[in-house]
């Protein structure tokens, strides 16, 4: 266990060094947040029917999304991807540790450090200037915090799975653009999930992706009552376990036929 913690710490510290990139990213994310809020405001002004979410709820949802965007498993761990492409994965394999566990530890760092750098200033700004609301109460806040931890686990499991898939898609970028599309739609990153059409909701509810943003956000806003937290977090954790198992299975297969690139 110590080894995995050490790897996490090293990676985490290394990622915290990228402050300039974080600052630039922060500016972009604030900009897009404003654009999205404007679009939703216009949409609510022109729509007549009742919506499943109020405009202030949507605005809070949007700002939470912007703050935690980097937590989504957009792509494999770039380091691991590089290790596999260059063949340096050879050295990962001569270490007496479980490879998937190692990559999971790195993925946790990958999904938390950049967020940590950006989310605090973003939340302060959005809360004080751009109309983001606080949590619906102490219980929703607690449910949000618990669910957010599950989000990190889920996202890391997906990231590790994507990293492993690099073994099979050395040259193709196809899979990764597919992932980006699915994530955007199914996690609530572009449109809050309650606003999606009725017919797609059953699919959204089953798939793991809502656990990446939508679940913690709705707990935060009280849109999901705290009593529903247990089930919601259960869904996140169940998928985490499934994705870890899938990642391990795929890695075992990859290692049987693995081709470590280069001499």
């Amino acid at each position: 266990m110590r080894a995995y913690v050490a790897i996490f710490e090293a990676r985490f510290r290394a990622l915290l060094q990228y402050r300039a990139a974080a600052l630039a990213g922060l500016a972009t994310q604030v900009f897009w947040g404003l654009v999205r809020v404007m679009i939703f405001t216009a949409f609510y002004a022109s729509s007549t029917g009742a919506q499943p979410m109020t405009l202030p709820e949507v605005i809070t949802y949007v700002w939470l999304t912007q703050a935690l965007l980097m937590m989504l498993p957009w792509r494999p761990d770039p380091d691991v991807e590089q290790l596999i492409r260059s063949g340096n994965v050879a050295y990962e394999l001569v270490r007496p540790v479980d490879l998937h566990g190692l990559w999971l530890a790195r993925a946790v760092a990958q999904r938390t450090a950049p967020v940590l750098l950006r989310c605090l200033p973003m939340v302060v700004l959005a809360y004080s200037v751009f109309g983001m609301a606080g949590p619906a109460g102490p219980l929703p806040a607690l449910a949000f915090a618990v669910s957010l931890c599950a989000t990190v686990a889920l996202s890391a499991a997906l990231t590790a799975l994507l990293s492993v898939s690099t073994f099979f898609t050395l040259t193709g970028r196809g899979l990764h653009s597919l992932v980006i599309g699915v994530l955007n739609l199914m996690s609530g990153a572009i449109i809050p999930l309650p606003l999606l059409p009725e017919w797609i909701q059953p699919l959204v509810r089953v798939l793991p992706f809502r656990g990446l943003l939508d679940t913690p956000f709705r707990l935060y806003m009280g849109h999901l009552p705290p009593e529903a937290a247990l089930q919601a977090v259960g869904h996140q954790l169940l998928w985490t376990v499934l994705l870890v198992l899938a990642g391990r299975w795929l890695l075992a297969r990859a290692l049987r036929r693995v081709v470590v690139q280069g001499g």
Binding site: R2, A3, A6, I7, A10, A14, Q17, S86, G87, N88, A90, Y91, L93, V94, R95, P96, V97, D98, L255, R256, R257, V258, V259, V260, Q261, G262, G263
Partner: protein
């Protein structure tokens, strides 16, 4: 006791061939052509505890592939392989905890961390106790003279510094078995000597078994009592350097500087070259004792200078590689590789 037992090891790679040009690329979408490279075609050898074995062969012969299998990184297609009583790829974690590996063309240090922090991470990964780690690190840092760069991020190190740090990294857990795949590649003469001297002492003083892959024949000559030659995925020669010389049949050399430009052609030696008054002769030291030959030449000719030497190992190796090429003519040869390794 045998540390490594390898029998009839086989590994083939299937490489998807890209066709040249636009049309080729289009055809590739429909149907990919595959080419099979037989990297290991039945390799076998044993290595005993405390041996220092040179593992040599031309580019693409299968050296790195063998090392990867022995290190548990690559699963072979067939054959037997046991290292310290374990099958490397089946018990990877237990296996790699007891070996050290250096791939000269890569680094196992974390690119953006100072060297010493990489070492600390390895300490955690190999669960080396803090006290032992201190002692070992001090000894290694002294022996390889890397004390000055410990706080430098790895990406800022020169190749020689990095390589020495990599050797330290591979030995922090004090493995009894060390694989070195081209550890002196790209190093300047002093750095080479430092690594060489260190490996020698590691083997002599600590009894560490070492498998050394290299294209630098000076490494081999300086270090290895035993040399295994691999070519086209097969072992073509296994024995001492002397055995290698015998196999290559290049004999010994005698170089004669004559006083006058006169013919010199003893019956039991072959003239290799002649340039003015300098004649190079090759002879078989078993059939013709060097002393007798020298005595005869100096008696019959006016000699200014004369010396006897072993032919450079490069020549022996070139001869051996060429020989294997001639034998392998009938088989499909692996094509030249794209990457420089």
């Amino acid at each position: 006791m045998a540390q490594i037992v390898v029998e009839d090891l086989r590994k083939r790679f299937v490489v998807a061939e890209r066709r040249a040009g636009m049309l080729g690329a289009l055809a590739g979408v429909v149907r990919r052509r595959h080419r099979v490279v037989e990297a290991l075609a039945g390799v076998g050898f044993r290595v005993d505890e405390g041996e220092l074995v040179g593992y040599i062969g031309p580019n693409g012969a299968g050296k790195s592939t063998t090392v990867k299998v022995l290190a548990g990184i690559l699963v072979p297609d067939g054959g037997r392989c046991e290292v310290q009583g374990r099958v490397p790829w089946l018990e990877r974690v237990e296996h790699v905890a007891r070996i050290g590996v250096v791939f000269g063309q890569r680094t196992q240090l974390w690119w953006d961390l100072p060297v010493v922090e990489s070492f600390e991470l390895l300490r955690e990964i190999y669960r080396v106790d803090r006290q032992q780690y201190r002692v070992r690190l001090d000894a290694l840092v002294n022996a390889l003279d890397v004390g000055a760069v410990l706080d430098v991020p790895v990406r800022q190190l020169s190749l020689g510094q990095r390589m020495r740090c990599d050797v330290v990294a591979a030995l922090l857990h004090a493995p009894q078995l060390l694989f070195l795949d081209e550890p002196t590649i790209g190093l300047d003469a002093p750095a080479k000597l430092a690594v060489r001297e260190f490996v020698r002492r590691l083997n002599r003083e600590r009894g560490t078994t070492v498998i050394l892959t290299t294209h630098d024949m000076d490494d081999i000559e300086a270090l290895c009592s035993r040399v295994v030659v691999i070519d086209h995925g097969r072992i073509s020669c296994d024995g001492s350097l002397d055995h290698l010389r015998e196999r290559a049949g290049v004999g010994r050399r005698i170089i004669v500087d004559l006083e006058r430009d006169e013919p010199l052609a003893p019956t039991d030696a072959r003239v290799v070259s002649r340039e003015g008054t300098r004649v190079v002769l090759a002879f078989d030291p078993v059939r013709t004792p060097a002393a007798a030959l020298v005595a005869r030449i100096t008696r019959e000719h006016a000699v200014r200078d004369l010396f006897v030497e072993n032919p450079p190992i490069e020549e022996i190796v070139a001869r051996l590689y060429g020989e294997a090429d001639a034998r392998g003519e009938a088989e499909p040869r692996p094509e030249p590789r794209e990457d420089p390794s």
